[in-house]
């Protein structure tokens, strides 16, 4: 059984829906075990914001609602971490849990340089599957 790590976006539900639908279209429930992970930045000495606190609600974990509803037939383990470095935390988790593939949507929200994906690719030693989010191809000339 393959272990997939889904990098869950804590602010954009549509990214997570896109991610979950990709899983449904490409993997059978009996083929995979899913580790859904989101990381909240804790930039010391700044405290975690009130928005982040809502995400951390341990009993409900609302950030995973989209993923859970679409992947209701899959085995999904949910994790929320607080760390100063998102990418580093995800890489560490992936290595510790023998993840086969890290899957994430390519944010490209503001056409800024993307350091997150290269970090995952360079430091994990694990396959990284980057999903385009809708309009990426159209933005290529302006980046």
């Amino acid at each position: 059984m393959k272990k997939l790590l889904l990098v869950v976006d804590k602010s954009k539900a549509e990214f997570n829906q896109f991610l979950a639908e990709f899983i449904v279209n490409n993997y059978l429930p009996e083929e995979v075990e899913i580790e859904a992970v989101t990381v909240i930045n804790d930039h010391y000495p700044y405290t975690i914001t009130s928005v982040d606190k809502k995400i951390i609600t341990k009993d409900k974990m609302p950030v995973f609602n989209k993923i859970s509803s679409i992947l209701n037939k899959y085995k999904v383990n949910k994790h929320i971490f607080i760390d100063t470095d998102n990418a580093q935390r995800i890489v560490q988790f992936a290595k510790d849990n023998a993840v086969d593939t890290i899957i994430l949507t390519n944010p490209n929200k503001y056409n800024l340089p993307n350091f997150f994906v290269p970090y995952l690719v360079n430091h994990s030693g694990i396959k990284v599957l980057v999903l385009p989010y809708k309009s990426n191809y159209g933005n290529k000339k302006s980046a």
């Binding site: 990709f22 593939t101 390519n106 490209n108 993307n114 994906v117 290269p118 690719v121 360079n122 430091h123 994990s124 030693g125 694990i126 396959k127 990284v128 599957l129 980057v130 999903l131 385009p132 990426n136 191809y137 933005n139 290529k140 980046a143």
Partner: protein, 133 residues
């Protein structure tokens, strides 16, 4: 029919993507597009000897995929362009590719720096990109 794009540059590292394809895709409903982009001609610094050498390496690399992908429907393309990364993204879009499979970086010895091509492709491709370590 699933369409997979396999960009190769002649190095052994890029050929490792073939193994991933064999392990993860079904020969019955998958077509593989092997693409090599020759950037040398456009750099303007190559003399005829270097261009010929590059050409030979490309043809050898493409032929090497035959052994690995023997049970698949394979279409091979060699193009000359000023930018391999842009060509890969354009080719994928124009051919309605479903997935791109590529190595992280193919330059030997540069182990900690992400390849510029895979970084660009993962950002701008219209389809999922699988980057192999």
């Amino acid at each position: 029919m699933k369409k997979i794009l396999l960009p190769i540059d002649g190095t052994n590292k890029s050929l490792e993507s073939c193994k991933y394809i064999v392990e993860n895709f079904n020969t019955d409903n998958t077509k593989i597009y092997v693409l090599n982009v020759n950037e040398d001609f456009y750099h303007g610094f190559s003399n005829t000897g270097e261009s010929e050498k590059a050409n030979k390496n490309v043809l050898k690399a493409i032929d090497n995929t035959d052994n690995e992908l023997k049970n698949f429907d394979v279409e091979k393309t060699v193009v000359t362009s000023k930018s391999a990364k842009e060509e890969i993204v354009s080719f994928a879009f124009e051919n309605n590719i479903d997935t791109i499979v590529m190595a992280r970086a193919t330059k030997e010895g540069i182990k900690k720096i992400s390849g510029s091509v895979s970084k660009y492709v993962s950002k701008f491709a219209h389809c999922p990109v699988i980057i192999l370590p």
